[in-house]
Subunit: 247 residues, 2 copies
DNA sequence: AAGTGGTCTAGACCACCCG
DNA sequence: GGGTGGTCTAGACCACTTG
């Protein structure tokens, strides 16, 4: 009776705001352009700053915006496609790609990785840190875990830590016959160390790519790659066989 | 002098809170168990509710928690692995999988899809909606776009909208010779209609899987699948060639 | 009707970047 | 030092589910 509740469901303010801003980005802003600051935008739309931020967070999640503390909010370029799977299986670091070995050490793998490797937590394991850049920007960081037992008989020179040692571990790995591999992609949030490498704040949304490498009848290595979810589109392409895709 | 600022950088409260809660989930809670409500948790940890929610949001993003309005917050089961890529290329709907055709219509594709198809926005295009379930829960919804011109000469019976029409479009597609395909994965937020199908709120984080199908020298179809990012781990497996993975 | 998570507010302070 | 985004608070009301 008194209830004039004919409107189905009131759209949340931040959701409507996101739509309005998204349209504005398409029509009125150029890539790289800087937006008015949050306090002014909130005032302009007549909402609290927290509400505006909820809309901005969504747009950043979708790769439309880029926010940097102390600087401002800018219009993000379209996501870059980064190739994750080649047509053929290969050990990491064999082909010329845009990965850069950074460092290597011996450490105990996290429990989840130990499970994939089928090793105990106490088994000594080589770790190799690599980072990947695209168009000059860091897009991913990776930790590769190789149980020492998988490299039995292959010598890792006792060099000082650093890229040289990382390359040495990779070279040893390449001597094994790769029998197959396996990938999984899931959403995660950046750990503190990964965030620093990716130039993001801890907790930033990332795409976790877990790769298992099989050799000699066992899981010989596991790689966990952390891609910036805001700027990356992961491509799995045997791709275009006929050269269709222009532009 | 007076500055006793020896601590490097104060960890945000919500970040520390997330760690504490995460450990508690591992040690003190069982899957499916219901947590104390947000007001009580906030009081217990001596923080504002908004701060607690920031921690819970992260844990939900990582698939550790599940929150439902009017019900409560429960401990989420581990993410389910859903196979996205088979060893061989195939049209959608050819193999027996867990996709269910839902409906079909003729509609103009969104601009981004039209670009991938290489068609104008005005070209009539068949759309097929499918949904995918795993363990009885909806995990993904998909929209398949097939330009009418790609199916030239193949008849689509003029049936009423519904699963039958969807299957008819798929059958027509299967008559084309598949020459290749292409995939990309990126982070997105659920549109209102997708969110409803996935039993989530609009804006929920999702993994967008875009597949291009090539036939007869052109892009014959584009599929955009929307996977729940909180509950899904996408697997790309030629997988385990030797049957290693037990458990 | 009671209890839950979801939205929103108006304010404060902090960490960071730059000129 | 001034401006930016990031964190945090203490409240309020709403939408939804369940007994």
């Amino acid at each position: 009776m008194g209830t004039t509740q004919l409107e189905t469901a009131p759209e949340p303010k931040y959701w409507h705001l996101k739509t309005v801003l998204s349209d504005a980005l398409d029509s009125e802003f150029a890539v790289g352009e800087i937006l008015p600051n949050e306090r002014e935008l909130a005032a302009r739309f007549g909402v609290a700053r927290a509400t505006l931020r909820q809309a901005l967070e969504q747009l950043e999640l979708e790769g439309r915006l880029q926010r940097r503390r102390g600087v401002g909010t800018t219009v993000a370029p379209p996501r870059v496609g980064v190739a994750v799977a080649d047509a053929e299986h290969a050990w990491p670091g064999t082909t010329e790609d845009d990965w850069q070995p950074v460092d290597s050490a011996e450490a105990a793998p996290p429990a989840a990785v130990a499970l994939l490797l089928g090793t105990g937590r106490d088994e000594t394991t080589h770790t190799v840190r690599r980072t990947r850049s695209s168009h000059g920007r860091p897009v991913a960081t990776e930790l590769l875990y190789v149980p020492a037992s998988a490299l039995a008989g292959l010598d890792i020179p006792e060099t000082a830590p650093g890229p040289a040692r990382a390359r040495a571990v990779l070279r040893a790995l390449h001597r094994l016959p790769l029998e197959g591999q396996d990938r999984a992609v899931e959403l995660g949030s950046a750990r503190a160390d990964d965030a620093k490498q990716l130039d993001r704040l801890p907790g930033a949304p990332v795409l976790l790519v877990t790769t298992r490498y099989f050799a000699e009848g066992r899981t010989a290595a596991v790689a966990v790659a952390t891609y910036r979810a805001d700027t990356c589109r992961l491509t799995f392409g045997d791709g275009d066989p006929v050269g269709l895709l222009a532009s």
